[in-house]
């Protein structure tokens, strides 16, 4: 079994190195195929490990080698395969395999095809380190590793020039990449502080050993550590106020958005909370904050998706919103439900994004849904996939999203946090509305693209086939919720609904369904019809206050630019030109000049005239006598 662990971990690394060998040469299709096979191998190994764990219940621990050892600090490369990590490993490698195959088709015209696979596989490798490590610093390696891969992939089309925010809200791929990296770094500092707190109070960073010492730690330390770790999680999972980078990250190629910015990397923050659940469980105040923030982000992101026109940005907002749901569940103590939603979300959201990629491919990178409409004729397969994924996202039975999201909403009711419950229910309605607004605007209604000269075509067949596993999983995952619960609660705490909630469960479910279906129906009436009832652009409404507020993302990016980015550049320039050059350096030069000038001024004494020298000698002698007399007075 140990070998399987190593294969699962290092196959993506081998894939990345292999593709890197051809990184600077012409597009070679076999690079994509070999890379996909490597990732597929990692998936099969992960699956075998999952089956092994399911049947025997043996957790595998491996210590590969020492890493950093100084003073009493000692951290090794150690890996653990338990219920939580094996879930993540399977999900990550499965989605990655699909995305690798998909990318062979999607990137077929890109001259940097080989380089793309190298980065993509490197990402998978980092993600595997992140989920498999048995200590916080190992997790941090993966954490930073996925950050770099995300930077490389968002900025993959680095040659594009910057545009103004009005032309393109994400400015340019390289700008968006830098934003993502820097925002994540801010949060990572929080994470590092969490690591420092844990190390100095427990003397170790291994999960088991840290959690074993929890009973001996005082509350202040646990609260500090959880806050700090959660700040890290907020960055990676793009929670408010670190959320702006995620929508800008849509500048990356669509397979990247599907894999990194929807299915896997952005869920790392949720994973961290689940992984450190004993710690977060011991800090109920922090956990409640997490749940509240999650609920807020769920609502906040959904509201911005309502008016967005960019296909990928709509899906990005929905990712943000679903991450909020996951945090809500984790914060309320339903860790396994959060993990279940994470997995279900990975499947249907990756499917949705890849479908969006097909549309984008067909429309030659046009993403404005106002310019689409009626495309289901040309792109039947994609239409089915995207509708399926949207149904799952909207939370209609029997698809995956229904089971996982309903459980989260029920948890909020069960914890008597009724306000959170209401927010989550309303958000579910909004989710259904914006998902179907996007589906209807793209595939139904009047054909708006042909007059604009677009002639969309369906994606390659092998790409559509490659997407099918996701479609199947987006459908059936929810049916195995009970089995999964039995499996995962070997490690994660059980979460039982109270008698009262249990009693009301079906009514609660109906409320959620009512909101979801109303959202869909409303979207249908507004956007899907043709002829007399067809959707028409209402420019007047677009000038409304709320519309503009939402369209401009509540002016948060603008705020960051005006109050952080610009002042930082200004202060930096002042520090350099006014302080460093004019004060610090000028002082040094002035001291030097003072010496030089005093020398220059007294040079006149050196006349070469003996009587002058005697005069000066007399002056000196008198001066010495005076000094001697004065010092004698004090002694």
């Amino acid at each position: 079994m140990e070998n399987l662990v190593y294969i699962a971990l290092f196959a993506p690394f081998a894939s990345s190195l292999f593709a890197a060998l051809f990184g600077m040469s012409q597009r070679e299709v076999f690079v994509g195929i070999v890379a996909s096979m490597f990732i597929g191998t990692a998936f099969i190994s992960s699956l075998l490990l999952a089956i092994h764990l399911y049947t025997t219940g043996d957790v595998i621990n491996i210590t590969m080698m020492d890493w950093i050892h100084a003073g009493d600090f000692n951290v090794s490369f150690g890996f653990v395969v338990d219920q939580v990590s094996v879930t993540m490993m399977t999900v990550v490698t499965l989605v990655s395999t699909v995305v690798h195959v998909y990318a062979i088709g999607y990137m077929d015209h890109d001259k940097s095809f080989n380089r793309f696979f190298s980065y993509l596989s490197a990402f998978v490798f980092s993600m595997m380190i992140l989920v498999m490590s048995d200590n916080f610093l190992g997790l941090f390696i993966g954490w930073e590793g996925v950050g770099v891969c995300s930077w490389l992939l968002i900025g993959f089309w680095y040659h594009k020039a910057d545009q103004t925010r009005e032309e393109n809200p994400s400015v340019s791929p390289s700008w968006a990449a830098n934003e993502a990296f820097i925002v994540n770094r801010i949060a990572d500092l929080g994470m590092l502080v969490g690591i420092f707190v844990l190390y100095w109070n427990t003397g170790t960073l291994k999960y088991d050993e840290v959690f074993a010492q929890l009973p001996y730690l005082n509350n202040g330390i646990i609260v500090t550590a959880t806050i700090a770790l959660f700040i890290g999680a907020m960055g990676k999972s793009a929670q408010f106020p670190f959320h702006t980078w995620l929508t800008d990250a849509m500048e990356g190629p669509t397979p990247v958005s599907a894999l990194i910015h929807a299915a896997t990397m952005v869920t790392a923050g949720v994973f961290l909370v689940i992984r450190a659940n004993p710690l977060f469980h011991a800090a109920p105040e922090v956990s409640f904050f997490i749940a509240s923030l999650g609920t807020f982000v769920a609502f906040y992101a959904a509201s911005m998706a309502l008016v967005e026109r960019d296909l990928k940005r709509i899906i990005a907002y929905s990712t943000l919103s679903q991450l909020g749901y996951m945090f809500a569940a984790a914060g309320l103590g339903a860790y396994w439900i959060a993990l279940f939603h994470l997995a279900a979300h990975a499947f249907f959201k990756a499917l949705l994004f890849l479908g969006g990629g097909n549309v984008m491919h067909a429309m030659h990178d046009e993403l404005d849904i106002f310019k689409m409409g009626g495309m289901k004729k040309e792109m039947r397969g994609t239409w089915i996939y995207m509708t399926l994924a949207s149904v799952a996202l909207a939370g209609l039975p029997p698809l995956a999203g229904f089971w996982s999201k309903d459980a989260i909403i029920e948890t909020a009711f069960n914890e008597h946090t009724y306000f959170l419950w209401i927010m989550l229910v309303v958000t579910a309605g909004m989710t259904a509305f914006y998902s179907f607004r996007q589906v209807f605007m793209t595939f139904h209604g009047e054909d708006r693209h042909t007059p604009l000269g677009f002639h969309p075509h369906e994606m390659y067949k092998f790409v559509l086939i490659a997407m099918s596993p996701l479609a199947v999983l987006a459908t059936i995952t929810g049916w195995y919720m009970k089995e999964y619960e039995d499996f995962i609660t070997e490690l994660l705490p059980h979460y039982e609904m109270s008698e009262h909630t249990h009693h009301l469960a079906s009514w609660l479910g109906l409320v959620v369904l009512f909101f979801a279906i109303s959202g869909i129906v409303w979207a249908y009436l507004k956007y899907a019809r043709i002829g007399r009832h067809a959707w028409k652009r209402d420019k007047e409404k677009e000038q409304g206050f709320f519309y503009k507020l939402l369209k401009n993302q509540y002016y948060v990016p603008k705020f960051y630019e005006e109050f952080i980015t610009k002042p930082y550049a200004m202060v930096s320039a002042v520090f350099w030109e006014k302080v460093d050059l004019k004060i610090v350096d000028a002082t040094v030069d002035n001291i030097a000049k003072a010496f030089y000038k005093s020398g220059d001024a007294t040079r006149g004494m050196q006349t070469g005239n003996l009587s002058n020298y005697l005069n000066w000698m007399a002056v000196g002698g008198v001066l010495l006598l005076v000094i001697a007399a004065i010092s004698a007075m004090f002694v």
């Binding site: 600077m24 003073g71 680095y158 340019s172 390289s174 820097i182 930082y568 320039a573 610090v584 030097a592």
Partner: protein, 508 residues
Amino acid sequence: MDNILSVLVFFPAVAGLLGFVIDKESARAYGITVATIEFLLSLWLWFSFDMSDAGMQFVESIPLIPNIGISYYMGVDGISLFILIMTTLMTLIGMASMSVTKNIKNMIVTLLFLEMTMVGVFVALDAIIFYLFWELSLVPMLYIIGAWGGPLRVYASIKFFLYTFTGSLIMLVGMLFIAYTYYSVTGIWSFALTDWYMLVFPKSMQLWLFAAFFIGFAIKVPMFPFHTWIPYAHGQAPTIGSVILAAVLLKMGTYGFVRFSLPMFPDASVMAIAPIAVISIIMVIYTAMIAYAQKDMKQVIAYSSVSHMGIIMLGIFAMNAEGISGSVFQMLSHGIVSGALFMLVGVIYDRRHTKLLSEFGGLASVMPKYAVIFGIMLMAAVGLPLTMGFPGEFLVLLGFYKVSPIMTILAGTSIILGAVYMLRVMKKAFFGPVTNKENLKLKDLNSRETWSLIPLVAIVIWLGIYPKPVLEPIDNSVKAMLHFMDEKAITQEAKDIIKLSKSTKEAK
């Protein structure tokens, strides 16, 4: 080979003297050969180094002027060993990558002399010998900047020389005072560091002496507000000068703190934690911001050096093995990484004769190999895990967290601000469309440049994944030093703050 250290110190100098009679055409090959032999010798030193011994090894001691206690006294421990190896490595690589053709023979001879003085500083255990090498190292650098530098080279080299020289004079006064004290206590003159370690000074005297040494070292590091010579020195120096300056000469200052200030004045060092931490944090934040405002690529790296040196200073004053070992490791990491970055800037300067960021853009598509290596070094500079930049920076911050969480968070902004200015360079120079036509024809790295950078890339990754072979001997010596400081400290506060590791090995 009992006198390996003497060989290491004087071989380059003797070879340098012979270099005068070498033909101009073969001067470069000759220099590289000598530097290679020197590097191999230093590797040999590492292999015969006893990893379990935390004390001084390969000690040589010959009385020079017995009347006043000056002796030829040398040795290495875990702390100096790797700085020494880095010195020989960076001299070799710097020389191999050098594109200078003007007066090449003089350059080679100067570099070999410089190598002697640098190795000498790190192995000297006698204060006078240390001081001699310390001051002598200024001369070749003065010449390198003054003779091969840019338009402001005379101003820059004189500023560099006078500034650091003034600092060291104050340090010399401190040294003479200690020797005198030693004489008045024991009745014999001695300048041997190991003898000086035995002196226990009263607190106030420790503070004065600490201050004297501080000025000498702080200017060299350079610490805020004594850092303004460095942008000029880097700005005017040829690539090779910047590489050596950043990689090795700055480390003399931080090494001085570890070798002199901490073990000799433990109480004063503990009292200096707060002020030094404040200065270090200013260095980290303030110079990182200045680096962000720069228009010249090389100045960004120059200011980033100061910012990184802030982290190193912070680690030295963490007073625990995590912080100090991390700090020494970070010295090595900064040496390799900033050396490589200066070489990379040199590559583009050789091609375009400008370093202004506004002249570039889109280089990644014209020079992909160059962009990849720059990217790797950039990631190491911002402390990405599994590169060499991470263990040091992490351990420093970890160590200092024990002393002050708030200050650690402030200094920790280095991981953010570092990314801010480095990514700006990456974006401006490498990303975006190629706007300047002149950049379209640029050639990617040639084989000389590639093969001098690849070893550095390999080291950066190797020591990021497996720092143990280097970190372990450093850590042993650091633990022993802390143990010694704890025993020697006279005040209770100092004893409380100096944190001993559970696994300390005694110095033999």
